[in-house]
Symmetry: D2
Subunit: 156 residues, 4 copies
């Protein structure tokens, strides 16, 4: 039936279908999927050695898979390398850090629900970074780099 | 198998199993379920006539079902009454208002993913209200009212 | 930004916006929301006294809220009445039964992820009932009853 | 607060923390995460050249990321290779096939909600394969291979 079957198509985003953009701050990023209805987003980040992100709290769960490189959270003992999987429950708080002595970029796939609440030292919310913000940043940086907006991304 | 089957039990929370607490600000509330891993929470709110909540943005989707009374969002034309269902996509922004001339409390069931970002007039985030905050408020108000903490809630 | 904000509108389905249909087997039903991408559906069921559904297993979690009447699962001790909330984890198995001596219809709101696997006595799958099937049944019964298909349902 | 914060810990599963098992049918598998409450599971599959899976329908959405190798669905034109991302909506139907002339195993990460309904040619359900079944198979094969059950998996 037309109504029920309307979006039952598997979608594929090849590596080249989603170009990397460079934030100029040691982080490259690309978007594969953003669901505006659910607030979920699937992305990749490529971190240069020495990068540290602002400490943040998640409003929903996150799954991560490290493709290459090495990184960790300052609050935890584990070190994530190629082949490592992580699960972050909603409301967990952490500070991503990439060792200065890494010799290659650190490439991580993230499947994210909801927002990152970037925190001040006193745990108050400094700013919010979420799916809509990621899409906006990604498209603006593509435009700034003169790269045509890809039409194969999974945007809903 | 033990591992796979460990939590396959249906849980029931009767109306009396989750006592109402009164915030003193025209809003009564009760909690049925909070999943700390997912950041999802299922609650009921009972609003007095004239109540207006702070304008907020959601980081995840919300489903609502009105059991009795009458309310609306200032940004929309619809009026929700007993039997009305609403769906709020992630990142939608709205201001809940209960008409002053309502003659009964407005009782609404909400199934919520993620956080409410309460907004200032300039759309910056004033404060965050989420599942953990709701649980904390609910339990503190129960204690303040001398009501034993119910042990049948669905807390994970 | 247009792409990110495209579906941020709250949707409202009033009680009359989703007409009841009668299956002729003691069950009336209506649909408020079906998300074909996620396989999630939000419905109401009105059960006549004495109704019993086929024992089934769920592939995803279900939340239920009883609006009126009285029902239970044969496998459990609780009895759900108006104001009762239930949570069914994925893969739970149960048999819904409505007491013969009920004096009014039993009206239940269900928020469902995934499919019901209706089971044979030996636990093999007899048939599958899911969101697409519900939509198909609902629209076919509306047509059979000469009721115009409602255009305010939340279909994605 | 203790109740609200009880599971806010990020969990890490290194590549060696989840051993591969070999089904003997051209498919190796490992489990990183299974949530019995939600029916969600995150796994890796390593497919030998020439493998074809039974055509199936999903009851919930699936995300996939190909780490190495090459595979496709018989019903689609795309070919997934290292770096490819796919999104499968709930209720989509497809037949995974790995080309015979692949020279390396095909390694794919899958994030799955709900069940696979393996289909007969007439679209009736032949059998169901889901998170609990995967866990059971994985643990049985570990035991059969004399590998101790890993204690770092994310099981809920």
């Amino acid at each position: 039936m037309a109504v029920a079957e309307k979006e039952l198509v598997v979608r594929h985003v090849g590596d080249d279908d989603a170009p990397w953009v460079d934030t100029g701050m040691g982080v490259e990023l690309k978007l594969m999927r953003y669901d505006s209805d659910r607030g979920t987003w699937t992305i990749r980040n490529r971190f240069a050695p020495g990068v540290q992100l602002q400490r943040h709290r998640h409003t929903g769960p996150v799954e991560g898979y490290t493709l290459s490189g090495r990184w960790h959270y300052l609050e935890y003992d584990f070190v994530s390398v190629g082949g490592s999987y992580i699960y972050e429950p909603a409301n967990s708080v952490h500070t991503l850090h990439v060792p200065e002595d890494n010799t290659e970029p650190t490439d991580v796939l993230f499947v994210i629900e909801g927002a990152l609440l970037n925190l001040n030292d006193d745990d108050s919310v400094d700013n919010v970074f979420d799916g809509p913000a990621f899409v906006e940043v990604y498209f603006a940086m593509l435009e700034g780099a003169g790269i045509p907006r890809p039409n194969g991304l999974i945007l809903r």
